[in-house]
């Protein structure tokens, strides 16, 4: 765990304001599944959520954008997204965000037999009294599929998702469900200080 520095510290309060109306308390009943599906945010959008999350990932996005612009992009901005969720851990809000773009993630393969999840950087911001703390994970599984345009085709979002939970002991649990089945190689259990 590292202390938040530079622009991150300044933006943490704004980031944590995202929690308004969507906070989940850490589980109080051990053994029960209180995990939630992480919300998908398009970082190209012009709204407060996207703006504050862009600040959280500004260092990575700057480098990725430079790489994106090396090849003709026809004026399109770098496609960048994040899966996000905010927990209430006692008095402290805890934000979990997994960045997704082609330069920061290890993308899955293509064709029959390919997995759907990527491995991307994750940041956990813990607010509360005193300076915010940010924990970074180099590679966390990231799985998000949109609602298919054609309802008879495409991976089912209900069967393919990234879920997260925070237990009362302060351990974050990340789980990925692919084609309705858990992916054990994606399990991540991270004790937050």
């Amino acid at each position: 765990m590292v202390r938040a520095g530079h622009a991150l510290t300044a933006s943490v309060s704004a980031i944590l304001a995202l929690s308004h109306g969507s906070v989940h308390a850490a589980s109080t009943a051990p053994g029960t599944d209180t995990s939630v599906t992480m919300r998908w945010v398009d970082l190209r959008e012009d709204n407060p959520s996207a703006e504050t999350l862009r600040t959280l990932w500004s260092d990575r996005l700057e480098i990725a954008t430079r790489r994106w612009l090396k090849t003709p992009s026809h004026g399109k901005p770098l496609p960048a997204y994040t899966l996000v969720h905010v927990f209430a851990f006692g008095e402290r809000p805890v934000l979990v965000s997994i960045l997704f773009n082609m330069y920061d993630c290890e993308l899955p393969g293509n064709g029959a037999g390919a997995d759907l999840f990527a491995r991307c950087p994750m940041r956990i911001v813990a607010g509360g009294a005193g300076p915010a703390r940010i924990t970074q994970v180099a590679r966390a599984c990231h799985l998000y599929v949109p609602e298919p345009a054609n309802t008879t085709e495409g991976p089912d979002p209900r069967q393919n998702k990234t879920r997260v939970s925070l237990d009362p002991g302060g351990t974050l649990h990340l789980r990925v469900v692919q084609h309705g089945r858990a992916v054990p190689s994606c399990d991540l259990d991270l004790r937050l200080e």
């Binding site: 790489r67 090849t71 003709p72 399109k76 770098l78 496609p79 997204y81 997704f100 773009n101 082609m102 330069y103 993630c105 290890e106 993308l107 899955p108 393969g109 293509n110 064709g111 029959a112 037999g113 390919a114 997995d115 759907l116 999840f117 990527a118 491995r119 799985l143 998000y144 599929v145 949109p146 298919p148 345009a149 054609n150 085709e153 495409g154 991976p155 084609h179």
Partner: protein, 287 residues
Amino acid sequence: MKPFAIPRLRSRWCQAWLLWPAMAMAAIVTAQQVADAVRNSPAASTFLRTHAEAIGVLAIKVESGGDTTAYNGTCCYGVLQLNTTNIIAAGYTVAQYRNAGLQEQVDAWSRIQSRALDDPVIRRLQAMTSFDGQPVDAPFLLACVQLGQGNCRTMVESGTCAGFRDRNGKTICEMAATMRAAVGGGTPPGSPGGSGGPGGTARGGGAFSPGTGTTPGTAFEYASGLGMGDAANAIKLMAGALLLLWLAWTSKATWGRFVCGRVLPQDMTTTVLRAAGVALVALLLIS
């Protein structure tokens, strides 16, 4: 019966017409068109452009059969079967990508794969001449990024081809071998030989294009995705079937006229003999 039959026929025609838009959307392209699209792609790295022919083979022989609207039922779309996750990473929605033309699909694929080819594990592989008895050539590297750079790393770190298998049990080495065999430049593992056929090299070098020395049969197969023999058989089969259908149709009509007394018995005998001859020709074509 007549008033019923006509609406039913009309209904069937209506259904057939409804299928036309779907049929029109299914754009089938050749390996050569895919290769040209790779060469024309501003997003393609030098490696991808150099091995554009191999990517054409990958599209036709391994992934989609050349159908730009293909969906494999689990994850992947388009002529090069780009993963849903990678489609999003490239900045498309699935619907946009699936309805995109060949060049746009190839551009998105090239951007993703050019990035994957930058991975240190691919550079490490490029420095090798062989891996677990397999040549590290263009098909091998392409198979590596097509099945995922992370999976490629898993295989390389294991030291064996079996170190990574996809959800269908396929290894990167097997996919590379399929691509080599498709161009006629080698044989899959376990097959006898392996010294290479016309136009390609089985081991090392990375030379992987039909180029000079390609037989007309190989060139035909490369461009159409279908062997000359297979194409000939398909044409014969269709001709035979059409002949039999025509024969059945005319025989039914002649029998009706015979039953009504409008065809003399001696003429009927001649007709039957002729029909038998035509049937024999049709059966020869089919066999």
